[in-house]
Amino acid sequence: MSGVSVAKDAEDAAPASGDLVVLSNVNKHFGALHVLQDIDLTIARGEVVVVIGPSGSGKSTLCRTINRLETIDSGAITIDGKPLPQEGRELARLRADVGMVFQSFNLFAHKTVLENVMLGQTKVRRTEKKQAEAKARALLDRVGVGTQADKYPAQLSGGQQQRVAIARALAMDPKVMLFDEPTSALDPEMINEVLEVMQQLARDGMTMIVVTHEMGFARSAANRVVFMADGKIVEEATPDQFFSNPRSDRAKDFLSKILHH
């Protein structure tokens, strides 16, 4: 287990406390659409933040700007004190420190499960093959798919694929993990197996930004809920506050819709 949670060890060694991800005054347009409007968001080390909001409000875009899969028009984003670099080698290095889990899993279709989890280690981190495999197997065990190591992604269920995707991201020892609706593409009976892995991760102290509508997860694992609508952050609160007593009308309206359907 200790080999798996290297990120945490490194953190303990250099207790650089404080803010890990900082977005200040971030704006982004898709053509005429102002998809992110003056976004200010600070995420502390070890914090778990759930982002919630109606479809099309810019949650995915927000997530994707943090590892610069989307560029921004103005404002600044820093990770661990360093501003996001331009496209290139340095950005690639930074992306390795930011794990991302996609709604549609995006496992490498031509690689086995084990190779999926090893590839970043060997090609990006330049880890020894043996060492990378040991770590990959440990991570696959940790997310409960150790027995599937030699299969191809298409042979796995959605829940298993998503857990492999989490293992693939963890293999890079990320400083922060981004989850963009990780359970939205799953059949209901598979949602919990993925949420449990995420909950364990949160308990282990991983810094997480999670776009999800799973209230159970938000209540049990999140330190903070950020509610977005129309490209703006409308409300920030603790999960309890937000779900039982939302302040804004937009949030009230939104919650009434997801609660009574």
Binding site: N67, L69, R95, F108, A109, V124, A165, R168
Partner: protein
Amino acid sequence: MNVLLDNFSEFRDGFIGTVEITAVSSVIALVLGLLLAGFRVSPVPPLRFFGTAWVTLLRNTPLTLLFLVFYFVVPEIFFPGMSSFLLGSLALGFYTASFVCETVRSGINTVPLGQAEAARSIGMTFTQTLRLIVLPQATRTVIPPLSSIFIALTKNSAIAGAFSVTELFGWQKLMSDQGYDIVPVFVWVALGYLVVTFAISGAFRLLESRMEVAR
């Protein structure tokens, strides 16, 4: 008096010439075509521009014109004294590279965007993403059209014969100049090309079935 048996060594030289110019320009076309495809999907605007310009220019130029440029302009300006074999291979390779590029690019577009995004999000560079994730998945769709492109290249190599490269089609001219009946000459030439093109499509078919098994 059999045209083939009487002139077998010339025929053999022509055949070997065709195989050689086909092989050399195929390698040029493949390597360059892959590189150009990479340029065309690259995040760097000047590279994208270069790739687009190359394809637009070379794909839309008649091959004979290109050969003329390579034989009469290129040696004057760039490489004086380059052999006609090499000039012909370059002309054919550069021309075919533009087709390879477009085929590979359309193959790249069949790979879901999420694959490249996942690769980039674990810190792979653009080149790694292309080489390790996208191109291997594009290969399956690209192989059948590539086969056609290389068969076309083989047949296009006949133009090099007009520029004093020893190759199969040139043998035809040699024979008809010597007064042989044209029909059997054409039959032998056609058979020679068939051997090469069948070998190419066979190799590609083999490659295709290999990939089928690998899945």
